[in-house]
Symmetry: D3
Subunit: 243 residues, 6 copies
């Protein structure tokens, strides 16, 4: 059986990346749903810096397990090759750091200094199904960050970062390295890499049509005939497009 | 046994509706608590459009069950008589659409286009114990919407809307069609229809008194004698009212 | 065995109080973690008045148990010596009222009028692992309040306040009367009283160093050598301090 | 769009019913999974009478909403036409009463007397995503009953039974009246009615093959070649069947 | 306002105690429900020694808060006056130790040695909304114990026992010292002390009637006329009693 | 910094393995607690085959992430090198398969056929923080299996097994390959490999002492002087040991 998580080797096209910057995560879930994927939205995450909500990038994954008191001590970070630190220095420009925090929120997955380093390295964003700390710093950082919220505790209190660039679960969604991560006001969606090009294109089409439909609904049209559009509405839509 | 959920047939009086627009949900729970109803607040819901938090209207209910993969496919919405769409076209002006989403948040109960249609039809608001999608659209929509938050996924991923205008549970509170739904910063309260007129009147009275008490507390008065008011304070309150 | 919860009898020094006003709760958890305390952050609380998030004060504790329908009736508050009311009138200026609400959010721990009284009495803040009501009033009150959110229901619906100034649990953290409670954007941290002076001093030092590190990271330095600082960076830091 | 929940009008064949009595719920989920249904198991239910775990029957559904203190009083049951009582008198022989208790366990969905009446009427079993009371009585009752456990409280404390024979959710699985409900040690599975005949037949086939595989594994065969069976193993299986 | 939790000073009558030994917790919740108490069942607890499920006794309460690493060390138990140990030595014969474990199950509330001491001192049972350890020992101990289950961890890992004989919450039910605690297969019910005598008497009556009803239902009678009993059935019941 | 998870290379001594077979998991948590490890018990797991509860073996770990509909199809198992199948064929005799199922119970981690293969290969047990299916088969299998319970669904419904012999979290406890896994009636405890020899020895000592204490408590001795033992009791204990 061909492994579909490894079938794509070329980088994401610029047109697809551009499309992902404009379509909503809601539209993407509909596109993926139509292809049989019912679980692509990472539930329960919200932007910590509302001014920077649009996020697009390839997933760079980080995996954590529960901490153990004799291993996870402050001195652990004296080692600059600690997986958490190494990951921060490894995320390529344009990628999103996606952290599997096992959905646990009692201690932060990371803080403002590491996020700042990610920013200066050109990362496209941060996603965790846990929390971050130094929330005030995040609010003023120009790097989209989506998490379950903020928590003051240092990550060692409950987290031990163990490896990176392996398939992970985040908010009970599978995330494979290289998948396309998109974030906006509704949260985060993970688009499997092998579907990214076609989903990007069709999502853009869907949004154009929905903008047209929304205008008609705002103008007082009933759902019948308009949403979803019947043949007449589609004809009108296509005619308008031709102008 | 007389069914008290069906004893009221006349519409809500204008004075009661006006009162509900001014009293807080906190006050309403106290009024209902005094009548033996300890569970009238729909826990855990928050306004998605903070600028439009005051909401008053009769409940128009919508019920969902879990989705099933062979039934809940995108084509289902080609049918304009699908219960979700039919409900949107049926909510009377002045009513609030209350959706029983079984408290599940992984997929949205509805999105921005349907909400816009509700708005143009004159609905008074939307309440769900699930989530909505297109959160950005909701923020700019002049229609009070209270939910557990936002989620990108299309509702078919987990919800199947099955019927409308039946008694439902929403956030583990019973909601009967026609009950009065009030929303503000503290969330949503459901006032049983047969109690609405008297609760509206007494809530208004309670709030006047509490405004007087708050002023005294702000002026440095101790709780003793003031909150709750003793005879002296009540005398002072009544005297002031007479001016 | 000496009871370390009762070994400190003198008031918190002014310098320590001042330090707590400037250091973050994130820094405090690191300091406490280094002393073996991995669970000092009260998870899941957020400021209801974002403009007033910095909070420092000694813990004044209040304990609640579940309500019982024949005890917890509205008339209970006619007694001005009811523990909840008595507590509000007992919190010393500069202290934080910390309420053990058993983590239950369905009814409010307290409302705006009591909070206003706390404000006029000089309290430093309110913390509950439950909810508050009259959220709009709290937003405009100059008194830091951290809770799980807002809920309209009167506290008697689920809470019975039973005693005060006893050791409690709040958000699954032990809080002893007199412990130092600090709040900011990341939530609330409880600093055991006997550690307060030394933690305050060292936290201040840590933050100075981290501000220096952040500047270097913002300037593009890699983590290696900078975070944590190696000998060179420390030398540079100390040299700068000497200027 | 044809409504597949209403396409089957003839009764379940005897051969299918017999097959369901012998195949495991585990096998049924695999059959349904192969047809695209990933969510047919009602999670978290266990048999209250372990001696009577095998259960097969058509779903007879009962729906509850949260109780309200002024409606749900003991006197309500004076009405023999109360939906809960009416349902008990309506379940056809051979059917399983499936109760939507919204997953809430604090009060029982029903007790031993009603269960006894169901037994004498020939019902095939009881399923609820809540609890039952009089657990001791259930243990000695010859009627398969699967629930989340036992709870002493009368159902009126949190439940109001509102209607029957409508589509419901139970343990977050859609259950339509007439679906085939099968229960055993692993819990409960709901087989959509329109798939019942073919699933029954193929499940029986699958179990025969798996019994053969299990024997080989018990005999020390490795998974490779055996589970799943390769061509050789299948040939051997078929040859054995021909004897 | 008279404090109804302190109005009863005489011991429970022998007839009431005897009645509580024979009525089920299900019956008791119905009696309390009829008096306005909807929340008397301690949800989610089960007997760890199924052979000894019937439990009756006055509540002797024990309260815990979260542990703190610098206080809750193994040496703490060198102090024989540690509240947990003192409580075990203070429970009067015939009383039930009820432990407020905040509903947390990750570490045991107590183990087999302390339970054995309770047994030799004549205690009537143990109830905790947490867990116990040495489950095997409990299974063979002739002392009814109801808990959420078993957990190996020593209680100091998450619990700090802080005082005894104060009002507590257990499984979100208020328990006042002296309340009557009854346990059976359905779990645990707390009967407020001031209602104990009348509830005991009426519960016994209710059970006699229900035994009569059950017999009729088992004999094939329909619910109508039988459950609840109409005038005819009541007449028959009374006649039978007179024999 | 030396990695303490990799410092032990020799196999567990026979005396230690023997000791682990006789000491309880409760005793082990106390030993680990005394060494600063407060979180070694895997909460919430129970034996599916009560007759085979004693389990000891080195951890062989298996990691799962959430399933994705286009990857996790039944055909995946045609590949005998699928990680789940490969793991089953790789567990050394005497080892325990520990599965990280992310604590999710909706679908089984594995079923009876794979467990039977593990048994024939000499595995010492199975642990998962999820569920298993074919519970009836497990009850009759002579292989200790501890899980959160049973669920009928095939694992592909929510699980994708991704790799083995990496550090994992199981029930929010860190498990490193080679750690000693011990199971009994109270659940499962993970003993870090580098502490195993000394913990085994001291646990055995502790249990001898506790057996002596229990006898005295059963004989009616008070806690004071006995539990914990004072000097007199210790002298008596040692004297007895010398006989």
């Amino acid at each position: 059986m061909k492994d579909i998580t490894e079938t794509v080797t070329c980088p994401l096209s610029e047109s697809a990346r551009e499309a992902f910057k404009h379509v909503s995560t809601a539209t993407l879930t509909t596109q993926l749903f139509g292809r049989g994927l019912r679980n692509s939205h990472l539930e329960g995450l919200r932007a910590l810096n509302p001014a920077n909500q649009r996020m697009v990038g390839e997933a760079f994954t980080l995996r954590s397990i529960p901490a153990r008191e004799d291993i996870d001590v402050l001195e652990i970070f004296q080692d600059y090759d600690h997986p958490q630190r190494k990951a921060v220095e490894s995320v390529p420009a344009g990628s999103v750091l996606v952290v599997d925090s096992r959905g646990k929120t009692r201690a932060a997955s990371l803080g403002h200094i590491l996020a700042t380093r990610l920013k200066t390295r050109g990362a496209a964003g941060i996603v965790t199904d846990g929390t971050v700390r130094d929330a005030e710093g995040f609010e003023n950082l120009d790097l989209p960050t989506l998490a379950k919220g903020a928590a003051a505790s240092t990550n060692l209190a409950i987290h031990h970062v163990v490896d990176m660039q392996v398939p992970i679960g985040c908010a009970e969604v599978a995330v494979y390295p290289g998948d396309i991560i998109v974030g906006d006001r509704d949260g985060v969606v993970c688009v499997p890499r092998h579907l990214a090009e076609e989903v990007a294109a069709e999502a853009l089409e869907q949004e154009k049509l929905e903008a047209f439909i929304l205008e008609k609904i705002e103008a007082g049209n009933p759902l019948r005939g308009t949403y979803p559009p019947d043949q007449n509405t589609m004809q009108e839509y296509r005619a308008q497009g031709e102008v």
